[in-house]
């Protein structure tokens, strides 16, 4: 970069007085809250790793962890927008169950009859019908909240019961299975992963995109002669970002297919069985890619579009937003419609993973979703929250759960721990915010 010399920062006089750590954070403009969460996550990981005698930080466990997180992580991105506008959605678990059942029935019963069994479009049509139903359910909630003035807590509490009951009525309580083979790719597993080669391609593409974004942001600020971060800070952020991405790819690629499946694959493709066993990498799982994709799209919506700006403005001061001429009611409707669609995406992941649509699918997920968003720094008093934080929050929750499973802790105790951690996390956040002021 040629502009190394002209780097300026707004806080030069103040910087001189502070210690190097503070200076580092100020220069890199890193969200210290997010950093704290990553630190907490690492502590949890290392702690479980020690407690389980080295079972936690293995490619296999980490790979499974990301797959298990993806469904709640997808919903948590939408829950951020809901909570930012001072609303709540208690119905996402039931919407997940309902849309999952719709998608299950579509691909296992209705579409095969119409198009013939094994038709290649079945998975897409089933998914689209689920998304449409999710969006409609969300829109209905949003309209009741925004235009009829019923508090979101009540509307979605009603939705929690209504859509769970509706799930039962779709098949009179019967479980629907199996799912379409293509649809099942969304659930992960050996075939639902993209393999080593594509994982590296995607990882490198992500690095390139990250660097391009940094360079572009810098060029924009230079064009308008705004203060810029020091160049070393840009390098540090770029390097950490790329290393993280490549590290994730490396871990995903170090988890190999189970021997039995690899042997069957070798036989089917008449590959000679090598001495040390056939090592086929899983690579990144499809549900994880879906979750990351959703995260990127939602971050884009929240930070780069008018809609996202309005969501945060409404959360900060609903009256000011209304007076500024924002159609706050329509924004609310759109938020809930989006939330419904995200619940349907989560439903696709979880039905595909389970290879069945059941009545109880997504039960309690609303609470995990809300907890993930709140642990991720979304303030229940509105106006604050990040998509990335909520997804990290989902990962923290899932890490705790799967760590406790590895430790052989009983389910009741798991719930006690997760509940206590939720309260503890929010208390720590309150303390942090009070001090940050």
């Amino acid at each position: 970069m040629a502009d190394t010399m002209q780097t300026t920062t707004t806080t030069t006089p103040r910087q001189a007085e502070t210690n190097p750590v503070t200076r580092f954070f100020r220069a890199t403009e890193v969200d210290t809250r997010l950093l704290g969460m990553i630190a907490a996550l690492l502590i949890i990981w290392v702690g479980f790793h020690i407690l389980t005698d080295g079972l936690f930080l293995t490619p296999r466990n980490l790979w499974n962890l990301t797959v298990q997180t993806s469904s709640v992580a997808v919903m948590a991105t939408g829950m951020v927008l809901v909570i930012v506008t001072r609303n709540i959605d208690l119905s996402v678990g039931s919407i997940l169950g309902f849309t999952g059942m719709i998608m299950g029935v579509m691909q296992a019963q209705i579409l095969p009859e119409l198009l013939g069994f094994g038709h290649p479009a079945i998975w897409a049509l089933a998914l689209l019908s689920g998304l449409a139903v999710g969006a409609m359910v969300g829109t209905l909630h949003g309209v009741i909240i925004a235009f009829l003035g019923v508090p979101s807590f009540i509307v979605t509490l009603g939705g929690l019961l209504v859509w769970r009951g509706a799930t039962w009525f779709v098949t009179s309580g019967q479980t629907v299975a199996p799912m379409d083979p293509t649809f099942r790719l969304m659930g992960g597993g050996t075939s639902g992963s993209i393999g080593a080669g594509w994982s590296w391609v995607l990882g490198l593409a992500a690095c390139a995109a990250l660097i391009a974004a940094i360079v572009n942001a810098r060029r924009q600020r230079k064009r308008f002669a705004f203060p810029r971060k020091p160049v070393w800070a840009e390098y540090v952020i770029g390097a950490i970002g790329c290393l993280t991405v490549l590290g994730v790819v490396l871990v995903a690629n170090s988890y190999y297919w189970p021997t039995a499946i690899a042997r069957r694959y070798a036989e089917a493709n008449s590959i000679a069985w090598p001495e040390g066993g056939l090592l086929i990498s899983h690579g990144i799982a499809v549900p994880v890619l879906i979750a990351i994709g959703v995260g990127i799209v939602m971050t884009f919506i929240a930070t780069r579009l008018r809609f996202g700006r309005y969501v945060f403005a409404i959360g900060g001061n609903p009256e000011a937003a209304e007076l500024a001429g924002i159609k706050t009611r329509w924004v609310t409707v759109r938020i809930f419609a989006l939330m419904g669609m995200l619940a349907a995406i989560a439903a696709a992941i979880s039905t595909a993973r389970l290879n069945a649509a059941t009545n109880a699918q997504g039960e309690l997920d609303e609470l995990y979703t809300i907890a993930a968003a709140v642990i991720g720094g979304t303030s229940l008093s509105g106006g604050m929250g990040t998509i990335a934080g909520a997804m990290l929050g989902a990962l923290v929750m899932q890490s705790l759960q799967s760590g406790m499973v590895l430790l052989g802790i009983d389910t009741p105790l798991q719930r006690i721990v997760v509940g206590a951690v939720l309260v503890l996390a929010v208390w720590l956040d309150t303390v942090y915010r009070a001090r940050a002021k």
């Binding site: 707004t10 705004f226 008018r306 945060f312 009256e319 007076l323 500024a324 001429g325």
Partner: protein, 261 residues
């Protein structure tokens, strides 16, 4: 000034009631270009309610609003903005959690050709406008919550002038400010006046506005007591209008004036 042909704003015989209580009854006020009109009265006299009808926050039950002599339909804040009416509220209606540029453009964001927010361009304009209003303002990246009362007020005012307001409504513009910041706002009002913008100042404290205003309207119990040019009346006389509803000789009485016994 009052003999100019068309007033910028004319509100005629406006009434509004909230559940049987007449907040404003048969009130008429007007405003000419480049004029500062103070709207005075006790808390609850109806002055804020009257002006919120103009800014679109409330809808009138009866009466007419004329902008430049033409009847205007103002049903919501968006309509008011179409007529170039900008309001700076007593409560400093800013979204606390977003930065100054986002507040300046709230509801009218600049977009890139791809439909995304053009934050850089918005920040550039924000820096320019704020530089004109308040050269000391440097905190563009922080949420408005972190700013002082005066800085927030300058954000609110910048927001109004950024969109070429022709009619500016300021509800208790200096209530939340210290003496120095109050003086700043006073200078700002004079500058806006020179640019031909009509300004309504709303206050319950006559000392805040008497020296800035060209004319005063006084309200009491939802009715207009009367109006006067500031050069024709004294502060004490205006005080008498506010407290007793007594109209001095230099003022034109309205429907709310105390009938001499």
């Amino acid at each position: 000034m009052t003999d100019q042909p068309t007033p910028l704003v004319e509100m005629k015989n406006i009434s509004i009631a909230f559940g049987g209580i007449h907040a404003v009854e048969d009130a008429s006020i007007d405003l000419y270009p480049g004029e500062v009109v103070a709207l005075l009265g006790h808390n609850g006299a109806g002055k804020s309610t009257l002006i919120k009808i103009l800014s679109g926050a409330y809808r009138r039950d009866a009466g007419d609003i004329l902008i430049n002599g033409e009847p205007a339909e103002i049903k919501n804040p968006r309509d008011a903005k179409h007529y170039g009416i900008e309001t700076i509220y007593q409560t400093l209606a800013v979204a606390d959690n977003v930065d100054a540029a986002a507040n300046l453009y709230l509801g009218r964001e600049l977009q890139t050709p791809w439909g995304t927010l053009d934050d850089v361009a918005m920040e550039a304009n924000a820096r320019e406008v704020m530089g004109r209003l308040n050269p000391n303002f440097k905190r563009f990246k922080e949420p408005v919550k972190a700013l002082s009362g005066g800085q927030r007020q300058s954000v609110a005012i910048a927001r109004a002038i950024l969109f070429d307001a022709r009619i500016l409504i300021m509800d208790e513009p200096t209530a939340a400010l210290g003496p120095q910041e109050t003086a700043q706002v006073g200078d700002l009002i004079k500058q806006l006046k020179r640019e031909g913008i009509g300004i309504f100042l709303i206050s319950h404290d006559i000392h805040d506005v008497f020296d800035l205003a060209d004319r005063v309207f006084v309200m009491k119990n939802g009715q207009v007591v009367g109006h006067a040019r500031t050069q024709d009346v004294t502060k004490d006389e205006v005080l008498g209008m506010i407290i007793l509803g007594k109209c001095p000789p230099g003022a034109t009485p309205g429907p709310g004036a105390m009938v001499a016994a």
